[in-house]
């Protein structure tokens, strides 16, 4: 329920620890200040006589400031220490260091995420499969405007900025599904630019990887074949990729494995045949303003395209 308070990586844990400490200090300060105000008000509530006209004392002001100054130094020091740890990111590697290459490249698009696994060459959309317990170097870049990559349970958030490469570490301490979101307002459909990180055990991850490498299926049943025709007749390939076909564009998500995804449209809807058909019939009704136009498919046509997409997996 509170992902910020349920860290599942060493980095998120360290940030959480700092947060709790500063929260406690703040609570203590608040209780002291509010308490002093309450006492002052209580004692002064029915004082009828003219109070002593006290203009202040320089000495007392200075004594008072000792506490806050020490607290500020303390918080600055512990947060600076953590900045050094988290920022100790070998972003600028010595040339020739093989580690300089990122494990993953995440590209923010209006309004979806493109993920490329460097070693295997696997490309995903809005889902990031990672092996548990491995510290992955993630390169963040943007295809259009500024986005922000945020998986509260696993890592700090980091802006995704056009014309600039940012790097973070991504690591999950235990297997699970971790919600991620775009945190920087990036236009119309910023709300539906969610993604999920799936942390798998090493075995599962290997299995997933080999599964992804299997060549996409070929449409066999008549509906799927008809759908394939529609897909290429309706300029779908101008924006999307389907591995092994002429469709190689990257304006929209790679559709080769779309049937295996849990959600569609940046988290706006769950993935099911029904929802996929609904989406194909009019994406603008589900995610108004998204870049995919309404192709005005008939019910049958939408089902055929969905059948084609599902046959790929």
């Amino acid at each position: 329920m509170f992902p910020v308070f349920q860290p599942e990586s060493p980095e998120a844990q360290a940030i959480y620890d700092l947060f709790i400490l500063v929260l406690m200090i703040s609570a203590a300060i608040f209780i002291i200040v509010a308490g002093l105000i309450a006492v002052a008000l209580w004692r002064g509530r029915s004082r009828a006589i003219l109070p002593k006209q006290d203009f202040g004392s320089e000495k007392r002001e200075i004594y008072w400031m000792v506490g806050p100054i020490l607290i500020v130094i303390w918080i600055t020091a512990i947060s600076a220490k953590l900045i050094l740890t988290v920022n100790a990111f070998p972003k600028i590697q010595p040339p020739g260091d093989e580690m300089a290459e990122a494990d993953l490249t995440v590209t923010g698009h209006q309004w979806w995420w493109e993920i490329e696994h460097h070693e295997s060459g696997i490309v995903e959309a809005n889902e990031i499969y990672i092996p548990t317990g491995k510290k992955l170097r993630v390169k963040l870049q943007s295809a259009d405007v500024i986005h922000c990559f945020w998986v509260p349970q696993l890592a700090r958030k980091m802006d995704v900025i056009p014309g600039r490469e940012n790097y973070i570490w991504l690591e999950a301490g235990k297997p699970g599904v971790y919600q991620g979101r775009c945190a920087e307002y990036c236009g119309n459909q910023h709300a539906w630019m969610n993604f999920k990180v799936y942390a798998l055990t090493t075995d599962e991850f290997a299995k997933w990887e080999s599964g992804e490498k299997v060549a996409p299926g070929t449409p066999a049943e008549p509906a799927a074949v008809a759908g394939e025709k529609l897909f290429f007749a309706h300029t779908c390939s101008n924006c999307h990729t389907v591995a092994g076909t002429v469709a190689q564009a990257t304006i929209g998500p790679d559709l080769t494995r779309v049937a295996s995804r849990k959600q569609l449209a940046g988290g706006a809807i769950e993935n099911s045949t029904e929802n996929l058909v609904r989406w194909l019939k009019n994406p603008q009704a589900i995610k108004p303003g998204c870049k995919m136009p309404n192709f005005k498919f008939s019910d049958d046509e939408a089902r055929q395209v969905a059948a084609y997409l599902e046959s790929l997996n």
């Binding site: 703040s26 002052a40 006290d54 002001e61 400031m65 303003g289």
Partner: protein
């Protein structure tokens, strides 16, 4: 004050009868102040309605009440409205009304400039809101991050209305602030030394100075974005070599001091309210005043704490973390002083005081979450979530708006002559207290649940619906509270208890005159021998000057035209510095992509024309001396020569531009050309403006209207003219000589 001041007062004497026209034509600082406040109230309602719509949309998950398009326009307009059309005018209004009264002056330093500053606002507001009629209100957020706000991603005219509206309002704000600075420095009554002004006046002086230096960075950012959008430059387009982060830097160099532009007046207001209702002087006047000055100085060095998530380097992160922590200290000082003022006091729980106390507590909460954000790693988790929404609403509503309510109940009797109803006031207080905390306290938790800000809807994640529901429902209490306030105001204006001069037994000079004050403010002033002249008058046995010595008034006041000119020049200097920074940023790396300073500029020729401009400073100085000496002929001769030299310089610039453009070096060619034309173009505009001013002076001089006694305003124009020359020296050495590359 010199005789020249007196003559100007005669000039501005206007008909002050009643009627709508008298309000439109008024230059009386009290009426202008009230106009500002009414404008702010109007837009508080508009911005409030926008907020209510936003909360209605977010009340339940998956809501389709508003389309994303409309939702995004609403939160953009809500932010923009609250900052530029509510916050700024409220405080400028109070400042306008109260500062002259508190220092015992008849009016502000420049009453007509004051009226102009005000009327810029409704015009700017009209432009901004006209965008709704075009069907495309601005929708890039109140900080309009590039490149989202550039043409490729925001095709509609919304952003253009936003840009022009903000520039118009910004110019008005700077002019208004310069006026307050000049008023406080030059118009104080005898005895009112600068160390004796009420804290409200001192802090508003700091705020006005901050406005003077903090709006220009916004203006330069807006100017650059205009050039991008209208002339197809690429300052903010990374694909064409621009920088997405430059906008953020410039915007927050404006944007964070802007927070203090709001916080300082809130401090100023409660620094008057709390002492009066504790029946004690402020504890540690010097510390409250001094800490405000420290805030002014530090606020310029904390902007990048809005950018911790953009991936700045470690040292930048740590530097801005330290600076942000530091600025918490002077604010902490004030909290102590207000508490100490109440300590041992005799507390009167008036509505005004209740709002001030709630301000104190809520501002502490907003301040503490601010400290959390200053601890950078916490910011890396919580920024851009509802935690940050909660944080700044605690500062801006829990702090600033509550302070405005405290001020409203406190000064309403002075402004209208009638008391506000205390029983209705308390209803409003409790409704707002619960409504505000109900709306925003839960948003802290929503942030920890991972809810990003600025989403038009959300999935039914565990807990989100409940907390959003509480947040939205609580808004109803604030709405009802606002209706109670409006009812209270209407009722009190009609049948409210008559206030009398000093209903609160308050301390400062505005309470020494009638409520509302006469047009010239005071029939007679009490003797000013301390910081609380009215207290001294009411309680002679405990008079402050008997117990606490304050520095005597030297009686010296600087010339207001000079103060105005210098403040204006400082403001303009900031504007040019940022434009020059832009030039340096984009031209420090050699690029063989298209024209550059080395390849297309004719340095010797421009050097010769620069000589003409620099010579004009000298001839201006001669004309100034002649005017002072009363030699009209030589004065006109040198002034004419100055104008001629300026025209020659502009002709040189025209020649240069024509040559460049014929060689296909245009503003959209590459970043060198964009920055070159932007910097030199704005400088050329300033020279032109200066020439117009000089031409007016020349005409006045020829008709014999400009004589020896007007030498001060003439010298003020000289300050501007010399400034334009100094800027050119910088422009020439940076662009033509490439001084920054050495």
């Amino acid at each position: 004050m010199s005789t020249e001041v007196a003559t100007q007062y005669e000039l501005i004497e206007v008909d002050s009868t009643t009627g709508l026209l008298s309000w439109v034509s008024t230059v009386d600082h009290k009426r202008v102040g009230i106009l500002y406040i009414l404008l702010a109230v109007f837009f508080l309602l508009i911005g409030g309605i926008e907020a209510v719509l936003i909360r209605m949309q977010l009340a339940v998950p998956g809501n389709t009440f508003l389309s994303p398009e409309v939702f995004n326009q609403l939160f953009t307009m809500h932010g923009t409205t609250m900052v530029f059309l509510v916050g700024m005018p409220f405080f400028t209004g109070f400042s306008n009304y109260l500062v002259p009264l508190m220092i015992g002056a008849k009016d502000v330093a420049f009453p007509r400039l004051n009226a102009m500053s005000f009327w810029m606002l409704p015009f700017g507001a009209f432009l901004l809101y006209f965008s709704f009629l075009t069907g495309a209100a601005p929708n890039a957020g109140w900080f309009s991050y590039a490149p989202l706000s550039t043409k490729p991603y925001s095709l509609g005219p919304g952003i253009d209305y936003w840009l022009v509206g903000l520039i118009v309002m910004g110019v008005g704000s700077i002019a208004g602030a310069i006026n307050i600075v000049a008023t406080v420095l030059c118009m104080r009554a005898p005895g009112m030394s600068l160390q004796r002004v009420p804290l409200f006046v001192w802090i508003m002086l700091m705020q006005a100075m901050l406005i003077v230096i903090t709006i220009p960075p916004l203006n330069s950012a807006l100017a650059l974005l205009c050039v991008d959008r209208w002339l197809e430059a690429a300052f903010f387009e990374p694909v064409r070599g621009g920088s997405a982060l430059l906008w953020q830097h410039f915007f927050w160099i404006f944007g964070h001091p802007e927070v203090y532009v709001f916080a300082l007046p809130a401090f100023a207001m409660v620094s008057e309210v709390i002492p009066v209702f504790s029946r004690k002087p402020i504890y540690g006047y010097a510390f409250v005043a001094g800490s405000s000055t420290v805030i002014l100085l530090l606020s310029y060095g904390v902007w990048a704490h809005h950018m911790f998530a953009v991936g700045l380097g470690t040292s930048a992160n740590i530097f801005f973390s330290i600076m942000t922590m530091l600025i918490a200290l002077p604010t902490g000082v004030k909290i102590f002083n207000w508490t100490a003022t109440m300590w041992g006091g005799s507390i009167r729980f008036s509505t005004s005081m209740l709002f001030a106390i709630a301000f104190l507590i809520q501002f502490v909460i907003g301040g503490l979450t601010g400290i959390m954000f200053a601890a950078v790693p916490i910011d890396w988790q919580m920024t851009d979530t509802y935690f940050v929404v909660a944080h700044f609403h605690y500062v801006l509503i829990g702090g600033v708006v509550f302070a405005i309510f405290a001020a409203t109940y406190y000064w309403f009797p002075k402004m209208t002559g009638r008391m506000l109803d205390e029983r209705l006031g308390k209803w409003q207080f409790w409704l707002w207290l619960f409504g505000f905390n109900g709306t925003f306290m839960v948003q802290h938790f929503l942030g920890a649940m991972g809810m990003p800000r600025r989403v038009y809807t959300y999935a039914d994640n565990p807990g989100w619906a409940l907390l959003n529901g509480i947040s939205s429902a609580s808004v109803i209490l604030m709405v009802v509270g606002t209706i109670v306030l409006i009812w209270n105001i209407v009722k009190s204006l009609l049948h409210g208890e008559v206030a009398g001069n000093n209903p609160w037994d308050a301390f400062t000079l505005e309470w020494a005159t009638t409520s509302p004050p006469p047009e010239t403010n005071f029939d007679s002033l009490p003797e000013i021998k301390s910081r609380r002249p009215v207290w001294d008058q009411q309680h002679p046995e405990y008079a402050d000057w008997k117990f606490a010595k304050t520095p005597e008034d030297s009686g010296r006041r600087p010339d207001r035209a000079k103060v105005c000119a210098w403040a204006f020049v400082i403001s303009e200097a900031v504007f040019f510095v940022l434009l020059l920074v832009t030039y340096v940023v984009f031209n420090s790396q050699a690029s063989d992509d298209g024209p550059s300073a080395e390849t297309v500029l004719d340095v010797p020729r421009t050097a010769i024309f620069s000589g003409f401009l620099l010579a004009s400073s000298l001839t201006f100085w001669f004309s100034e001396r002649s005017l002072r000496a009363g030699r009209r002929k030589t004065f006109l001769f040198w002034l004419g020569t100055t104008i001629l030299l300026g025209i020659v310089f502009l002709c040189g610039q025209g020649w240069e531009y024509a040559g460049l453009i014929s060689n296909d070096v245009t503003i959209d060619r590459n970043l060198f050309a964009s920055t070159f034309f932007t910097v030199t173009g704005f400088h050329g505009l300033h020279v032109t403006a200066g020439l117009i001013a000089l031409a007016i002076m020349f005409t006045l001089g020829r008709k014999n209207h400009l004589t020896k006694v007007h030498s001060k305003p003439f010298e003020a124009i000289g300050v501007y003219w010399h400034f334009v020359d100094v800027v050119w020296i910088l422009v020439f050495s940076i662009i033509y000589l490439g001084a920054f590359k050495l």
